[in-house]
Symmetry: C2
Subunit: 201 residues, 2 copies
Amino acid sequence: MEFFEDASTTREEILAAAYEALCRHGYSDLTVEKIGDHFEKSTSLVYHHYDGKDELLLACLEFVLDRYDETFAEAESGEPRARLEEPLAVFLVSELPDEQFRFMRALVELRAQAAHDERYREYFTRSDRLFQARLTELVEAGVDAGAFRDVDPEAVAATIQTVLAGALVRTTTSNDDEWLEAVREEVIACLEARLYRPDGA
Amino acid sequence: MEFFEDASTTREEILAAAYEALCRHGYSDLTVEKIGDHFEKSTSLVYHHYDGKDELLLACLEFVLDRYDETFAEAESGEPRARLEEPLAVFLVSELPDEQFRFMRALVELRAQAAHDERYREYFTRSDRLFQARLTELVEAGVDAGAFRDVDPEAVAATIQTVLAGALVRTTTSNDDEWLEAVREEVIACLEARLYRPDGA
Protein backbone atom coordinates (compact mmCIF):
# COMPACT_ATOMS: atom_id res chain seq x y z
CA MET A 1 0.00 0.00 0.00
CA GLU A 2 3.03 2.29 -0.25
CA PHE A 3 1.43 4.07 -3.22
CA PHE A 4 -1.46 5.21 -1.10
CA GLU A 5 0.19 6.08 2.20
CA ASP A 6 -0.67 9.75 1.80
CA ALA A 7 -4.23 9.22 0.57
CA SER A 8 -6.13 12.23 1.88
CA THR A 9 -9.05 13.05 -0.43
CA THR A 10 -12.12 10.83 -0.76
CA ARG A 11 -11.08 10.08 -4.31
CA GLU A 12 -7.64 8.89 -3.18
CA GLU A 13 -9.19 6.80 -0.43
CA ILE A 14 -11.41 5.13 -3.02
CA LEU A 15 -8.39 4.43 -5.23
CA ALA A 16 -6.57 2.96 -2.23
CA ALA A 17 -9.57 0.70 -1.54
CA ALA A 18 -9.63 -0.35 -5.20
CA TYR A 19 -5.93 -1.21 -5.07
CA GLU A 20 -6.33 -3.21 -1.90
CA ALA A 21 -9.38 -5.08 -3.21
CA LEU A 22 -7.67 -5.76 -6.53
CA CYS A 23 -4.63 -7.28 -4.81
CA ARG A 24 -6.91 -9.31 -2.56
CA HIS A 25 -9.49 -10.63 -5.03
CA GLY A 26 -7.87 -10.28 -8.46
CA TYR A 27 -9.67 -8.75 -11.41
CA SER A 28 -12.18 -11.36 -12.47
CA ASP A 29 -13.81 -11.74 -9.05
CA LEU A 30 -13.76 -8.03 -8.26
CA THR A 31 -16.93 -5.97 -7.89
CA VAL A 32 -17.55 -2.38 -6.82
CA GLU A 33 -19.21 -3.86 -3.71
CA LYS A 34 -16.01 -5.68 -2.77
CA ILE A 35 -14.05 -2.47 -3.31
CA GLY A 36 -16.55 -0.74 -1.02
CA ASP A 37 -15.69 -3.28 1.70
CA HIS A 38 -12.15 -1.86 1.76
CA PHE A 39 -13.44 1.73 1.95
CA GLU A 40 -14.29 3.28 5.31
CA LYS A 41 -17.14 5.40 3.99
CA SER A 42 -20.29 4.34 2.14
CA THR A 43 -20.03 2.31 -1.07
CA SER A 44 -22.53 4.72 -2.62
CA LEU A 45 -19.74 7.33 -2.56
CA VAL A 46 -17.72 5.03 -4.82
CA TYR A 47 -20.58 5.01 -7.34
CA HIS A 48 -20.81 8.79 -7.00
CA HIS A 49 -17.20 9.18 -8.15
CA TYR A 50 -16.82 6.32 -10.63
CA ASP A 51 -19.20 4.80 -13.18
CA GLY A 52 -18.07 1.25 -12.61
CA LYS A 53 -15.35 -1.24 -11.80
CA ASP A 54 -13.28 -0.59 -14.92
CA GLU A 55 -13.38 3.24 -14.67
CA LEU A 56 -12.24 2.90 -11.07
CA LEU A 57 -9.48 0.42 -11.84
CA LEU A 58 -8.22 2.55 -14.73
CA ALA A 59 -8.08 5.58 -12.40
CA CYS A 60 -6.23 3.41 -9.87
CA LEU A 61 -3.72 2.33 -12.53
CA GLU A 62 -3.17 5.98 -13.51
CA PHE A 63 -2.51 6.88 -9.90
CA VAL A 64 -0.01 4.05 -9.45
CA LEU A 65 1.73 4.93 -12.74
CA ASP A 66 2.13 8.56 -11.60
CA ARG A 67 3.64 7.42 -8.31
CA TYR A 68 6.01 5.02 -10.09
CA ASP A 69 7.14 7.82 -12.32
CA GLU A 70 7.71 10.17 -9.39
CA THR A 71 9.77 7.50 -7.63
CA PHE A 72 11.77 7.05 -10.81
CA ALA A 73 12.37 10.78 -11.19
CA GLU A 74 13.34 11.15 -7.54
CA ALA A 75 15.78 8.22 -7.62
CA GLU A 76 19.22 9.40 -6.60
CA SER A 77 21.58 9.50 -9.49
CA GLY A 78 23.92 6.55 -9.14
CA GLU A 79 26.28 4.54 -11.30
CA PRO A 80 24.66 3.76 -14.67
CA ARG A 81 25.09 0.00 -14.23
CA ALA A 82 23.55 -0.06 -10.78
CA ARG A 83 20.60 2.06 -11.89
CA LEU A 84 19.98 -0.11 -14.96
CA GLU A 85 20.10 -3.30 -12.90
CA GLU A 86 17.73 -1.96 -10.25
CA PRO A 87 14.52 -2.98 -12.07
CA LEU A 88 16.02 -6.44 -12.63
CA ALA A 89 16.55 -6.80 -8.89
CA VAL A 90 12.94 -5.77 -8.27
CA PHE A 91 11.14 -7.85 -10.91
CA LEU A 92 13.42 -10.79 -11.69
CA VAL A 93 13.31 -12.40 -8.26
CA SER A 94 11.34 -15.32 -6.95
CA GLU A 95 9.88 -14.89 -3.48
CA LEU A 96 8.39 -11.49 -4.25
CA PRO A 97 6.73 -9.67 -1.35
CA ASP A 98 3.15 -10.89 -1.18
CA GLU A 99 1.50 -7.54 -1.99
CA GLN A 100 3.78 -6.96 -4.96
CA PHE A 101 3.08 -10.46 -6.29
CA ARG A 102 -0.66 -9.98 -5.97
CA PHE A 103 -0.56 -6.61 -7.70
CA MET A 104 1.58 -8.02 -10.51
CA ARG A 105 -0.85 -10.91 -10.92
CA ALA A 106 -3.75 -8.48 -11.13
CA LEU A 107 -1.78 -6.38 -13.65
CA VAL A 108 -1.54 -9.45 -15.90
CA GLU A 109 -5.31 -9.87 -15.70
CA LEU A 110 -5.87 -6.18 -16.39
CA ARG A 111 -3.45 -6.21 -19.28
CA ALA A 112 -5.36 -9.11 -20.84
CA GLN A 113 -8.48 -6.90 -20.84
CA ALA A 114 -6.69 -4.84 -23.48
CA ALA A 115 -7.40 -7.68 -25.91
CA HIS A 116 -10.99 -6.45 -26.11
CA ASP A 117 -11.16 -3.14 -24.21
CA GLU A 118 -9.63 -0.09 -25.91
CA ARG A 119 -9.35 1.81 -22.62
CA TYR A 120 -6.97 -0.77 -21.15
CA ARG A 121 -5.08 -0.91 -24.43
CA GLU A 122 -4.57 2.86 -24.32
CA TYR A 123 -3.46 2.71 -20.71
CA PHE A 124 -0.87 -0.04 -21.29
CA THR A 125 0.35 1.66 -24.47
CA ARG A 126 0.98 4.77 -22.41
CA SER A 127 2.56 2.94 -19.48
CA ASP A 128 4.86 0.98 -21.86
CA ARG A 129 5.94 4.28 -23.45
CA LEU A 130 6.71 5.76 -20.06
CA PHE A 131 8.86 2.81 -18.96
CA GLN A 132 10.51 2.77 -22.38
CA ALA A 133 11.41 6.47 -21.99
CA ARG A 134 12.78 6.01 -18.48
CA LEU A 135 14.86 2.95 -19.38
CA THR A 136 16.13 4.72 -22.50
CA GLU A 137 17.29 7.66 -20.34
CA LEU A 138 19.21 5.24 -18.12
CA VAL A 139 20.98 3.66 -21.09
CA GLU A 140 21.73 7.09 -22.62
CA ALA A 141 23.23 8.23 -19.32
CA GLY A 142 25.54 5.22 -19.34
CA VAL A 143 26.57 5.85 -22.95
CA ASP A 144 27.18 9.55 -22.24
CA ALA A 145 29.26 8.69 -19.17
CA GLY A 146 31.41 6.31 -21.20
CA ALA A 147 30.34 3.35 -19.06
CA PHE A 148 28.28 1.74 -21.84
CA ARG A 149 29.20 0.98 -25.42
CA ASP A 150 27.72 3.08 -28.20
CA VAL A 151 24.51 1.08 -28.67
CA ASP A 152 20.99 2.11 -29.69
CA PRO A 153 19.56 3.06 -26.27
CA GLU A 154 15.97 2.63 -27.46
CA ALA A 155 16.60 -0.96 -28.58
CA VAL A 156 18.35 -1.93 -25.33
CA ALA A 157 15.56 -0.33 -23.30
CA ALA A 158 12.84 -2.06 -25.34
CA THR A 159 14.55 -5.41 -24.85
CA ILE A 160 14.88 -5.00 -21.08
CA GLN A 161 11.27 -3.93 -20.90
CA THR A 162 10.20 -6.97 -22.90
CA VAL A 163 12.12 -9.31 -20.57
CA LEU A 164 10.45 -7.68 -17.56
CA ALA A 165 7.00 -7.98 -19.17
CA GLY A 166 7.64 -11.64 -19.92
CA ALA A 167 8.88 -12.35 -16.40
CA LEU A 168 5.82 -10.63 -14.96
CA VAL A 169 3.39 -12.73 -16.96
CA ARG A 170 5.29 -15.99 -16.54
CA THR A 171 5.82 -15.70 -12.81
CA THR A 172 2.19 -14.91 -12.05
CA THR A 173 0.68 -17.62 -14.26
CA SER A 174 2.96 -20.63 -13.75
CA ASN A 175 3.79 -22.86 -10.81
CA ASP A 176 7.52 -22.69 -11.56
CA ASP A 177 9.83 -19.87 -10.61
CA GLU A 178 13.33 -21.31 -10.43
CA TRP A 179 13.97 -19.91 -13.93
CA LEU A 180 13.66 -16.32 -12.64
CA GLU A 181 17.05 -16.02 -10.93
CA ALA A 182 18.69 -17.74 -13.92
CA VAL A 183 17.13 -15.16 -16.23
CA ARG A 184 18.37 -12.27 -14.10
CA GLU A 185 21.92 -13.63 -14.13
CA GLU A 186 21.75 -14.28 -17.86
CA VAL A 187 20.45 -10.77 -18.60
CA ILE A 188 23.30 -9.29 -16.57
CA ALA A 189 25.79 -11.53 -18.40
CA CYS A 190 24.34 -10.24 -21.70
CA LEU A 191 24.65 -6.63 -20.52
CA GLU A 192 28.27 -7.33 -19.62
CA ALA A 193 29.00 -8.88 -22.99
CA ARG A 194 27.07 -6.38 -25.07
CA LEU A 195 26.68 -3.08 -23.21
CA TYR A 196 29.14 -2.49 -20.38
CA ARG A 197 32.60 -1.30 -21.24
CA PRO A 198 35.17 -3.42 -19.38
CA ASP A 199 36.74 -0.25 -17.97
CA GLY A 200 33.38 1.55 -17.44
CA ALA A 201 32.15 2.81 -14.10
CA MET B 1 -6.10 -23.35 -39.02
CA GLU B 2 -2.94 -25.28 -39.95
CA PHE B 3 -3.14 -27.17 -36.63
CA PHE B 4 -6.48 -28.65 -37.57
CA GLU B 5 -6.04 -29.42 -41.27
CA ASP B 6 -6.31 -33.14 -40.67
CA ALA B 7 -9.20 -32.97 -38.20
CA SER B 8 -11.10 -36.20 -38.79
CA THR B 9 -12.87 -37.27 -35.60
CA THR B 10 -15.83 -35.42 -34.13
CA ARG B 11 -13.65 -34.48 -31.18
CA GLU B 12 -11.03 -32.94 -33.47
CA GLU B 13 -13.70 -31.10 -35.43
CA ILE B 14 -14.98 -29.63 -32.17
CA LEU B 15 -11.46 -28.54 -31.20
CA ALA B 16 -11.04 -26.95 -34.63
CA ALA B 17 -14.31 -25.06 -34.12
CA ALA B 18 -13.13 -23.93 -30.66
CA TYR B 19 -9.86 -22.68 -32.11
CA GLU B 20 -11.62 -20.81 -34.88
CA ALA B 21 -14.17 -19.25 -32.53
CA LEU B 22 -11.44 -18.32 -30.04
CA CYS B 23 -9.42 -16.51 -32.71
CA ARG B 24 -12.57 -14.79 -33.94
CA HIS B 25 -14.19 -13.71 -30.67
CA GLY B 26 -11.41 -13.79 -28.08
CA TYR B 27 -11.82 -15.46 -24.71
CA SER B 28 -14.03 -13.10 -22.75
CA ASP B 29 -16.83 -12.98 -25.34
CA LEU B 30 -16.67 -16.67 -26.16
CA THR B 31 -19.51 -19.07 -25.41
CA VAL B 32 -20.10 -22.72 -26.24
CA GLU B 33 -22.93 -21.52 -28.49
CA LYS B 34 -20.50 -19.38 -30.51
CA ILE B 35 -18.14 -22.35 -30.77
CA GLY B 36 -21.10 -24.38 -32.02
CA ASP B 37 -21.58 -21.83 -34.83
CA HIS B 38 -18.18 -22.85 -36.19
CA PHE B 39 -19.05 -26.56 -35.97
CA GLU B 40 -20.88 -28.27 -38.82
CA LYS B 41 -22.81 -30.66 -36.62
CA SER B 42 -25.15 -29.92 -33.73
CA THR B 43 -23.97 -27.79 -30.80
CA SER B 44 -25.45 -30.42 -28.47
CA LEU B 45 -22.61 -32.72 -29.60
CA VAL B 46 -20.16 -30.16 -28.18
CA TYR B 47 -21.89 -30.40 -24.80
CA HIS B 48 -21.82 -34.18 -25.11
CA HIS B 49 -18.01 -34.16 -25.36
CA TYR B 50 -17.06 -31.22 -23.12
CA ASP B 51 -18.50 -29.92 -19.85
CA GLY B 52 -18.07 -26.27 -20.73
CA LYS B 53 -16.12 -23.52 -22.42
CA ASP B 54 -12.98 -23.87 -20.29
CA GLU B 55 -12.75 -27.68 -20.56
CA LEU B 56 -13.05 -27.33 -24.32
CA LEU B 57 -10.49 -24.53 -24.56
CA LEU B 58 -8.04 -26.45 -22.38
CA ALA B 59 -8.42 -29.49 -24.65
CA CYS B 60 -7.88 -27.20 -27.64
CA LEU B 61 -4.71 -25.79 -26.05
CA GLU B 62 -3.43 -29.33 -25.42
CA PHE B 63 -4.05 -30.23 -29.04
CA VAL B 64 -2.22 -27.16 -30.31
CA LEU B 65 0.69 -27.77 -27.91
CA ASP B 66 1.05 -31.35 -29.19
CA ARG B 67 1.09 -30.12 -32.78
CA TYR B 68 3.70 -27.43 -31.95
CA ASP B 69 5.85 -30.06 -30.33
CA GLU B 70 5.58 -32.41 -33.31
CA THR B 71 6.54 -29.55 -35.65
CA PHE B 72 9.51 -28.83 -33.44
CA ALA B 73 10.60 -32.48 -33.36
CA GLU B 74 10.21 -32.80 -37.15
CA ALA B 75 12.19 -29.63 -37.89
CA GLU B 76 15.12 -30.45 -40.12
CA SER B 77 18.37 -30.23 -38.30
CA GLY B 78 20.08 -27.04 -39.40
CA GLU B 79 22.83 -24.73 -38.24
CA PRO B 80 22.49 -24.08 -34.49
CA ARG B 81 22.29 -20.29 -34.97
CA ALA B 82 19.62 -20.47 -37.62
CA ARG B 83 17.53 -22.88 -35.53
CA LEU B 84 17.83 -20.73 -32.42
CA GLU B 85 16.85 -17.60 -34.32
CA GLU B 86 13.84 -19.24 -35.94
CA PRO B 87 11.42 -18.53 -33.04
CA LEU B 88 12.65 -14.92 -32.99
CA ALA B 89 11.72 -14.58 -36.66
CA VAL B 90 8.27 -16.02 -35.95
CA PHE B 91 7.34 -14.09 -32.80
CA LEU B 92 9.42 -10.89 -32.83
CA VAL B 93 7.87 -9.39 -35.95
CA SER B 94 5.28 -6.71 -36.39
CA GLU B 95 2.68 -7.39 -39.08
CA LEU B 96 1.97 -10.90 -37.90
CA PRO B 97 -0.43 -12.95 -40.02
CA ASP B 98 -3.94 -12.14 -38.86
CA GLU B 99 -4.80 -15.62 -37.58
CA GLN B 100 -1.54 -15.90 -35.65
CA PHE B 101 -2.08 -12.47 -34.09
CA ARG B 102 -5.62 -13.37 -33.04
CA PHE B 103 -4.52 -16.67 -31.53
CA MET B 104 -1.67 -14.97 -29.66
CA ARG B 105 -4.07 -12.36 -28.34
CA ALA B 106 -6.42 -15.09 -27.13
CA LEU B 107 -3.45 -16.90 -25.54
CA VAL B 108 -2.73 -13.78 -23.49
CA GLU B 109 -6.34 -13.77 -22.29
CA LEU B 110 -6.21 -17.49 -21.51
CA ARG B 111 -2.92 -17.13 -19.70
CA ALA B 112 -4.43 -14.42 -17.49
CA GLN B 113 -7.07 -16.96 -16.40
CA ALA B 114 -4.22 -18.76 -14.63
CA ALA B 115 -4.31 -15.96 -12.06
CA HIS B 116 -7.42 -17.56 -10.59
CA ASP B 117 -7.90 -20.92 -12.37
CA GLU B 118 -5.54 -23.74 -11.41
CA ARG B 119 -6.29 -25.67 -14.62
CA TYR B 120 -4.90 -22.88 -16.80
CA ARG B 121 -1.98 -22.46 -14.42
CA GLU B 122 -1.14 -26.16 -14.79
CA TYR B 123 -1.43 -25.97 -18.57
CA PHE B 124 0.87 -22.94 -18.90
CA THR B 125 3.36 -24.41 -16.42
CA ARG B 126 3.52 -27.49 -18.64
CA SER B 127 3.72 -25.56 -21.89
CA ASP B 128 6.49 -23.32 -20.49
CA ARG B 129 8.42 -26.44 -19.47
CA LEU B 130 8.06 -27.90 -22.94
CA PHE B 131 9.33 -24.76 -24.69
CA GLN B 132 12.10 -24.48 -22.10
CA ALA B 133 13.19 -28.07 -22.86
CA ARG B 134 13.12 -27.53 -26.64
CA LEU B 135 15.05 -24.25 -26.49
CA THR B 136 17.56 -25.81 -24.08
CA GLU B 137 18.16 -28.64 -26.58
CA LEU B 138 18.86 -26.07 -29.31
CA VAL B 139 21.42 -24.26 -27.14
CA GLU B 140 23.03 -27.54 -26.06
CA ALA B 141 23.33 -28.60 -29.71
CA GLY B 142 25.16 -25.35 -30.47
CA VAL B 143 27.50 -25.78 -27.52
CA ASP B 144 28.19 -29.41 -28.47
CA ALA B 145 28.90 -28.40 -32.08
CA GLY B 146 31.37 -25.75 -30.91
CA ALA B 147 29.29 -22.97 -32.46
CA PHE B 148 28.22 -21.54 -29.09
CA ARG B 149 30.29 -20.60 -26.07
CA ASP B 150 30.17 -22.80 -22.99
CA VAL B 151 27.16 -21.15 -21.34
CA ASP B 152 24.40 -22.53 -19.13
CA PRO B 153 21.91 -23.71 -21.81
CA GLU B 154 18.99 -23.64 -19.37
CA ALA B 155 19.60 -19.99 -18.49
CA VAL B 156 19.92 -18.90 -22.11
CA ALA B 157 16.77 -20.84 -23.02
CA ALA B 158 14.81 -19.38 -20.10
CA THR B 159 15.85 -15.87 -21.11
CA ILE B 160 14.83 -16.31 -24.74
CA GLN B 161 11.53 -17.77 -23.62
CA THR B 162 10.95 -14.82 -21.30
CA VAL B 163 11.62 -12.33 -24.12
CA LEU B 164 9.15 -14.19 -26.34
CA ALA B 165 6.52 -14.24 -23.59
CA GLY B 166 6.99 -10.52 -23.05
CA ALA B 167 6.77 -9.75 -26.75
CA LEU B 168 3.61 -11.82 -27.02
CA VAL B 169 1.85 -9.96 -24.22
CA ARG B 170 3.10 -6.52 -25.25
CA THR B 171 2.28 -6.82 -28.92
CA THR B 172 -1.30 -8.02 -28.32
CA THR B 173 -2.18 -5.44 -25.64
CA SER B 174 -0.57 -2.21 -26.89
CA ASN B 175 -1.13 0.04 -29.88
CA ASP B 176 2.62 0.30 -30.56
CA ASP B 177 4.70 -2.29 -32.35
CA GLU B 178 7.72 -0.48 -33.76
CA TRP B 179 9.75 -1.74 -30.76
CA LEU B 180 9.39 -5.36 -31.93
CA GLU B 181 11.93 -5.32 -34.75
CA ALA B 182 14.35 -3.39 -32.54
CA VAL B 183 14.03 -6.07 -29.86
CA ARG B 184 14.72 -8.85 -32.37
CA GLU B 185 17.83 -7.11 -33.61
CA GLU B 186 18.99 -6.40 -30.06
CA VAL B 187 18.44 -10.02 -28.97
CA ILE B 188 20.49 -11.22 -31.94
CA ALA B 189 23.22 -8.69 -31.09
CA CYS B 190 23.22 -10.06 -27.52
CA LEU B 191 23.47 -13.63 -28.79
CA GLU B 192 26.40 -12.56 -30.97
CA ALA B 193 28.16 -10.87 -28.04
CA ARG B 194 27.40 -13.53 -25.46
CA LEU B 195 26.72 -16.88 -27.13
CA TYR B 196 28.03 -17.25 -30.67
CA ARG B 197 31.68 -18.06 -31.16
CA PRO B 198 33.14 -15.72 -33.80
CA ASP B 199 34.43 -18.72 -35.72
CA GLY B 200 31.35 -20.90 -35.06
CA ALA B 201 29.13 -22.37 -37.73
